[in-house]
């Protein structure tokens, strides 16, 4: 019986160590976080030519500054974090929906509409987008990745450094 307990303890320790290593390997390059404690994360989403362009705030945590990070059409959210998605358009009227969260908004030129999101747990969400009432063949739909804040931080760092 004692033997059994020992074996179980050993397995658990290994898992924890592995887990810790994984955690460290993600966190190591990111000395600072892009998330500001207690403040919502602002993400700018621009519809242009039937694609989304997603912009994240840089180290200052503020959008529309020099260190903004443009992440192509990749929308990734930190789980459990209060996020504000600011929707704009450069041309058409676009619809933007996260059906699992029952959230819908539109993107219109010269106007801003904001969606507040707090996604839990980690995983993938469906993004349903479209040019409203117009062409339906577009790249506006896809997947939103919800990752742990740490993983999200790493991903954004990598993105800033030119990795995908």
């Amino acid at each position: 019986m004692k033997h059994r307990w020992f074996a179980w303890f050993a397995v658990m320790t290994t898992l924890l160590v592995v887990g810790d290593r994984e955690f460290r390997s993600e966190a190591a390059p990111t000395a600072e976080s892009f998330l500001r404690p207690g403040k919502p994360l602002d993400i700018h989403i621009l519809g242009r030519d039937c694609r989304w362009e997603v912009t994240y705030p840089g180290r200052d945590g503020v959008l529309a500054t020099a260190d903004d990070i443009i992440a192509g059409n990749r929308l990734q959210l930190p789980a459990g974090t209060s996020v504000r998605l600011h929707l704009h358009s450069a041309d058409f009227v676009y619809s933007f929906a996260l059906p699992e969260l029952n959230l819908r908004e539109i993107a219109v030129p010269d106007m801003t509409f904001t969606l507040s999101v707090s996604a839990q747990p980690t995983g993938n969400l469906t993004l349903r987008g479209g040019e409203m009432c117009g062409d339906r063949r577009n790249e506006l739909s896809g997947t939103v990745v919800v990752s742990s804040p740490t993983a999200w931080n790493t991903w954004l760092h990598q993105h800033r450094n030119g990795h995908d």
Binding site: S89, D91, F92, V93, S95, A97, R104, E105, I106, V108, P109, D110, M111, F113, E131, M132, C133, G134, D135, R136, R137
Partner: protein, 823 residues
């Protein structure tokens, strides 16, 4: 010097007439230079698009199974035609063998039903369906994809000579081969256009035909892919409706037939590039209206079709369902402007119908009728010049001075200052959110008629400041005080109701009386749905149907609105579909659309009239959105004793459309050239023809052929109209009706605004003469009362806009066209 063209023609002619015999007695029809030129000069395949060499005319023949075979059987297919006869021992066996060989090479296209083969006989006396069927079997012709066609000889020969421009003749002295015909194979595209001639006896020509046929098949671009399958689902729906309607009591033992080809009407609505090739979600796709009036005083009602491109057309009713184009003589063509709609009304009380036409930034136009159907443009002098995004024009006498005033609905600024190649101003890319941008609002205009065709804009003076995104409005005496109020539709938000305060000013009382209105309102009509002597208000809602794609099973339900409030802006006080406001008293209504089945799918405007003459007004709703959405049916709702509407479009022959059409060619792109970056050129080369679902926009309901029943004419977007002729007069055991034409004296001459109550036995029928004939338009038509079983009318009561009440005692026999002058 030799004329090279003539030489080419001569060479080609010799090819074309090489038939079953070399006899020289053949009839030689005049052959257009283009067809033979092409025949001889396209021997090498080029990337240039195959030219259109002609149009195959309409025909009605029968196939080898004895079934009707007309051009619609081939609509949407590429086909290869030839002319043969089964007794022929000269060229025909070779032709048929070559075609059989070709059918094996093109097997994939044939199986996919993108391509068909059609062999027409020139010897129908011998080539009966049975003979042709045996002939087909003998040559192992696939029975699905290869038709052998016979019929009336003169029809066949005319099709050969005049349609295909190919010679055919008799050579009675040659008993073995008594007919002479061409050996040409003819390539016809999805629209019935001739695209090439190929000698069926020459291997290289047949090889070229194969390549060209494959190329033309590629031109067919169903968008979305399921577009061409729509008819299959319609067949099923038809079966279901035929079963369902038998359970209902409403009279439906009659039907409509689209007799547009026979009517002579050749009008085709043409659309701007924003609504086609440029894929814009913009208000251009709202299309056009059509209006009716007897413009020349001959007692028959004429049709005025409006188009975005190519000018409007006025078609004079010749009687018996025939029309002729009198646009030029009448002077109302207005080419070069982007038309929206039109209204007829007698604006100067001189007994004829004047015409107001709206355009998109091409200036609105007022025409004075000289009484004989010739019109004079008087816009500037009349004081109604305006250039913007105008839509419906409502003629009504708001101040009861006996002159018709004008309410011009302005949609809003949905265009930029840039112009497209077709001359239209291109729309804002975000046009569909324009109602969120105050700077794009465009107030509608109320013009007061000062007499002598002079108008003054009085919107501010009477405090009628409406900035709705409105396409149309209707007069309606909501509070029943005798002054016509105004109900203004909004296609993107709340509808508005303005109460007329003694003809002096208007007071907005929208939400007081109508707490919830359809969000995307398009069509409107005031009528007594349940014959309770109170006028109800029916409104169709198109935009709400755009929020989600639905299947046919949900078409009679309100939309599941998924758009956010940021777009809707009505705080939830909206209906997501049609509304039927049943009047319960002055300024009191209950909304009963779902209870009575007044919902439908993708509606634009609609027309109201007693189609089965049973005394209860029915509704025809023009519907479907065209490109790039699925086909939506036009709705025909029969009114079952004011209890409910019974859907009857399939049962009455309105759907499926003539020839089972659900699609229409929409635009062309050059994928190897100027349009190579176009969305539809992805993975495609050469000339591509993109197709769309077909869709109606507007309609009118009137007795087109003077037989006592109501017919329906539409204006379809980017297509030809439908001319639905009713056979009620022939089918009904007894058809009892009365028409009432009003002639105002103290009131406006057309009597617009008058109500007429007809009593027949114990039943009374109330109608308002407001001119609202269909989507965005106003017409000058008599009121039509179906009387059910009543063979006479016992009394009439007219309440004129002047306030006078006039009564007339009967009996008046059913079948009478009454004209009542205000006294």
């Amino acid at each position: 010097m030799t004329n090279p063209l003539r030489t080419t023609v001569a060479i080609a002619l010799s090819v074309l007439i090489a038939g079953c015999s070399s006899s020289t007695t053949v009839t030689k029809p005049s052959i257009p230079a283009e067809s033979p030129t092409t025949s001889s000069n396209t021997a090498t395949t080029t990337s240039a698009p195959l030219r259109v060499l002609g149009q195959v005319p309409a025909f009605e023949l029968i196939d080898q199974y004895g079934e009707r075979f007309d051009q619609w059987r081939l609509w949407g297919k590429v086909w290869i035609a030839d002319f043969i006869f089964t007794r022929c021992t000269a060229t025909c066996p070779q032709q048929t063998a070559r075609l059989a060989d070709l059918s094996r090479q093109l097997g994939d296209e044939l199986k996919a039903d993108r391509l068909r083969l059609v062999s027409f006989t020139v010897d129908p006396a011998h080539d009966t369906p049975a003979v042709l069927e045996a002939y087909g079997k003998q040559h192992k012709a696939d029975e699905e994809s290869w038709s052998f066609v016979t019929g009336d000889r003169s029809a066949l020969w005319s099709l050969c000579e005049r349609g295909f421009k190919l010679p055919v003749g008799e050579q009675t002295e040659n008993t073995a081969n008594p007919f002479l015909h061409s050996t040409q194979f003819v390539l016809v595209d999805q629209q019935g256009q001739i695209r090439g001639y190929y000698d069926g006896l020459l291997a290289e020509d047949v090889a070229r035909l194969k390549k060209d046929a494959e190329r033309i098949v590629q031109e067919l671009k169903p968008v979305p892919a399921a577009l061409f399958d729509a008819y299959e689902s319609l067949k099923q729906r038809r079966e279901q409706q035929l079963v369902q309607i038998e359970k209902e009591q409403v009279f439906h033992q009659f039907s409509f037939t689209d007799r547009r080809p026979e009517s002579g009407i050749r009008f085709r609505n043409r659309v701007v590039s924003d609504a086609s090739k440029d894929y814009k979600a913009t208000h251009y796709d709202h299309g056009n209206g059509l209006a009716v009036a007897d413009v020349d005083g001959d007692g028959k009602h004429d049709l005025y079709f409006v188009s975005q491109l190519g000018g409007n057309e006025l078609w004079r009713n010749l009687g018996n369902g025939q029309f002729e184009n009198i646009t030029e003589k009448a002077g109302v063509g207005v080419p070069g402007r982007i038309g929206v709609t039109a209204s007829f009304a007698d604006l100067d009380n001189d007994g004829d119908s004047d015409l107001f036409v709206t355009t998109v930034r091409g200036g609105n136009l007022l025409f004075e009728n000289d009484g004989e159907g010739v019109f004079r443009l008087i816009t500037e002098a009349a004081g109604v010049a305006y250039s913007g995004h105008s839509s419906g024009v409502v003629c009504f006498d708001y101040n009861r001075d006996g002159r018709l005033d004008l309410f011009v609905c302005n949609v809003g600024v949905y265009t930029t200052d840039e112009k497209a190649a077709d001359g239209s101003y291109t729309a804002h890319k975000d046009a569909f959110a324009s109602h969120l941008k105050k700077e794009r609002n465009e107030p509608s205009l109320l013009y007061r008629n000062e007499g002598d065709l002079r108008f003054v804009e009085v919107s501010n003076e009477v405090q009628l400041r409406d900035e709705s995104w409105t396409g149309d409005a209707t007069p309606i005496d909501v509070n029943q005080d005798g002054w016509l109020d105004l109900y203004v539709l909004n296609m993107q938000g709340h509808n508005e109701y303005y109460e007329n305060i003694g003809g002096q000013r208007f007071e907005k009382r929208s939400r007081d009386v109508f707490p919830k209105t359809p969000w995307g309102a398009m069509g409107v009509k005031v009528f007594d749905f349940d014959n309770d002597g109170q006028l109800d208000l029916y409104i169709t809602d198109m935009h709400s149907d755009m929020s989600q794609e639905i299947g046919p099973e949900a078409e009679h339900l309100k939309a599941q609105m998924i758009w956010p409030e940021s777009l809707l802006q009505t705080n939830g006080a909206s209906l997501w579909g049609n509304a039927l406001y049943r009047r319960t008293g002055p300024s009191q209504f209950e909304e009963v659309s779902d209870r009575v089945g007044a919902e439908n799918y993708w509606p634009w405007g609609f027309s109201v009239g007693d189609l089965n003459a049973d005394g209860w007004d029915d509704v025809f709703i023009a519907a479907s959105m065209n490109f790039p959405f699925r086909y939506g049916i036009n709705s025909l709702l029969l009114n079952q004793r004011g209890e409910k509407f019974v859907a009857a479009e399939f049962a009455l022959g309105v759907e499926p459309r003539r020839g089972n059409r659900t699609t229409v060619p929409w635009f062309e792109v050059e994928c190897s050239g100027a349009d190579k970056d176009h969305l539809d050129c992805k993975d495609r080369k050469g000339h591509v023809s993109v197709w769309s679902s077909i869709g109606s926009r507007s309609s009118v309901m009137f007795d087109l052929d003077g037989d006592g029943d109501l017919d329906i004419v539409t204006n379809d977007f980017g297509s030809e109209p439908i001319v639905l002729i009713s056979d009620l007069a022939e089918r009904a055991a007894k058809l009892n009706w009365l028409t009432v034409k009003l002639v105002g004296t103290a009131s406006n001459r057309d009597g617009l605004g008058a109500t007429v109550k007809v009593t027949a036995g114990t039943q009374s029928y109330l109608k308002v003469l407001d001119g609202k004939s269909g989507y965005l338009s106003q017409s000058v038509l008599p009121l039509y009362f179906g009387l059910g079983d009543a063979e006479q009318v016992d009394a009439l009561e007219i309440i004129w806009p002047s306030g006078k009440t006039q009564t007339a005692n009967g009996p008046v026999k059913a079948g009478t066209a009454l004209e009542i002058r205000e006294e």
